[in-house]
């Protein structure tokens, strides 16, 4: 996984509530592959029915075309567990999403892909959105200190578990961490197999 220590970038204000992962990556675009998923990300919002870009959608606004931070609404990434939604958000250039709340699976998927999903209080997100709309100065997301700083200097602390923070800072992934603990997993199963034998099915027990 790519490291993420400090991000200095413009922030795109997109405070729409309940943006679901079906909207972020519609199923037919998933089946077309990664380039299409990114190109058509947020398709029902970014594109008109005839396929032309919707100029009213902030995600299409050229002022924020280089933004690395997405300021989102409540329950961002709710719905389907499809990790494609995170791939599309990252593919659009965002390494950080800030929202009052997230779909839990989307948020978990973000951390597996080097995207920091930050929860702030609704009024803090609103303050950031207002500042982002006022100009396109750079925001600062400091993963080491767990702080977001707006261009005007206001700083908000965010919560990140020590493990998630470490993983971002060092570029570690869960799989490598877990593979190093394979002996502990085996030991767990040996003990548990005695306690709950019905859990551990024999291989090839039933032919279908």
């Amino acid at each position: 996984m790519d490291r993420l220590v400090l991000l200095e970038s413009t922030a795109l204000p997109f405070p729409v509530d309940n943006v679901d992962t079906d909207v972020i990556t519609p199923i037919r675009r998933i089946l077309e592959g990664l380039p299409s998923m990114v190109e058509h990300a947020f398709e029902p919002l970014r594109f008109a029915a005839d396929g032309s870009l919707n100029p009213a959608c902030a995600l299409n606004d050229p002022r924020w075309k280089d933004a690395g931070i997405l300021l989102a609404g409540r329950n961002f990434g709710c719905g389907s567990s499809r990790e494609t939604a995170v791939w599309a958000v990252r593919g659009m250039g965002f390494r950080c999403v800030i929202a009052p709340s997230f779909g839990d699976i989307f948020r978990s998927n973000c951390f597996k892909n080097g995207v920091v999903a930050i929860v702030l209080a609704a009024e803090q997100v609103t303050a950031l959105v207002e500042e982002a709309r006022a100009g396109t100065k750079r925001f600062r997301v400091d993963v080491e200190r767990c702080e977001v700083t707006a261009p005007g200097g206001r700083t908000f602390a965010f919560e990140l578990s020590p493990l998630r923070r470490e993983a971002l800072l060092e570029g570690l992934d869960d799989l490598a961490l877990t593979l190093r603990r394979s002996a502990a997993i085996e030991h767990f199963e040996d003990v548990d197999r005695v306690r709950r034998p019905w859990v551990y099915l024999a291989s090839g027990r039933v032919a279908d």
């Binding site: 509530d17 709710c78 709340s101 839990d104 699976i105 597996k112 020590p162 199963e189």
Partner: protein, 472 residues
Amino acid sequence: MNAPKPRTMFDKVWNDHVVERLDESTDLVHIDRHLLHDLSGPFSMKSLDEQDLACLRPELTFAFPDHGVSTSPERYGDAAGGGPLLDLFRHYCTKFGVHLFDLDSEEQGIVHVSAPELGLALPGLTIVCGDSHTSTQGGLGALAWGIGNTEVTQVLATQALVLDRPRTLRVWIDGALAAAVTAKDLALALIARDGADAGSGYAVEFAGSCIETLPVEGRMTLCNLALEMGARFAFTAADEATFAWLQGRRYAPGGDDWARAVSNWRTLASDAGAAFDREVAFDAAALAPQITWGTSPAHTVAVDARIPDPASAPDAEARQSWTDALAYMGLRAGEPLDGVAVQHVFIGSCTNSRLSDLVEAARVVRGRKVAAGVRAWVVAGSRRVQREAAALGIDRVFRDAGFDWREPGCSMCIAMNGDAVPSGERAVSTSNRNFVGRQGPGARTHLASPATAAAAAISGCVRDPRTVASRE
């Protein structure tokens, strides 16, 4: 000696599965059952293969093609009947030694319908699947939740996950459901009241007198929809009804193991006095059948209510969201939903495709005809549900009324398998998501119970099922 501290069901099951505490809020958790489907499965298995890793516990891993498969009765002789990803899925299941309940299996079905039927979901198990609605299986007292592709690959390789421990929320529901009011209506009403992110960050336990009397399949429907209120984990405690539902199923414990398992399962319910991070209550007694009017499951009203006016929305964001939703849905604020013309009725999906759902819809349909201009489908959740329904003569009830009786799969809920609602047309659907474009680009979805969907099919419009006399 001090009495032991009362514990929640979540804490008991979670702690039973902790391999190692990684930091104050993160655990390495063992996974007892890993379920795969044909949309998320093949890519995660490909990733496993590319990293030169093997499947650690193929005997605890089971595969169900459901998302992309055709539901046409013609699918069995058709090379394309398995959908876009099934060949790749078969390839990797063979390679990694994972049992696949393929299209020709008598147990094929939607993963969240078939796995419980097979006894793969049991109380106290940790169950994951690359599908958000895995929480469905929490209705059997399991800890079951949806995961992303990277996590699927990790579980294949290690049978464990690195997880942030969620907080606990108990939703206490008292009151008996009235006639023609179901678990679906209860869930939609709860989401409407508390919001689509009310469960975000929480593991939700449903409890109370309503849950105790709710049939096991209704508990699964409720836990299925908990995801639409933001809860990744949702469950009910297992009880005698759960044990009766499970006994004798293919992978349920047999012989001496059964009694041993049941005595373990009885210890898992939340202790009296256990502390939850949050508690809310809901009264189910006065509940009417519910239906969605917008593009979020939280956009729900009673089926006999009027379409809400954005002017009465609680804040500016909601006002905009309601206005956009009404425009997408082609509806006008203030008008009754009852009587809004419908072109499609879909009875199916992991939410509402079990035998009890079909029985409930058949009570409304029996002896009546699908209205002109309506395409009405029943897509049973599994081959087993199909067989059990046929044994009760329910397939005939639907066929005689003019319904299509389809083969099991996710069908119109996901719209990646040839089954979709055309743009601008309206469906009453027993599925779980009314998101923009979910049932096809431009499709207009109203979520409702099987009884309400059946009432729409025979009426040609949204209709209160309580106004259609039920027939046994």
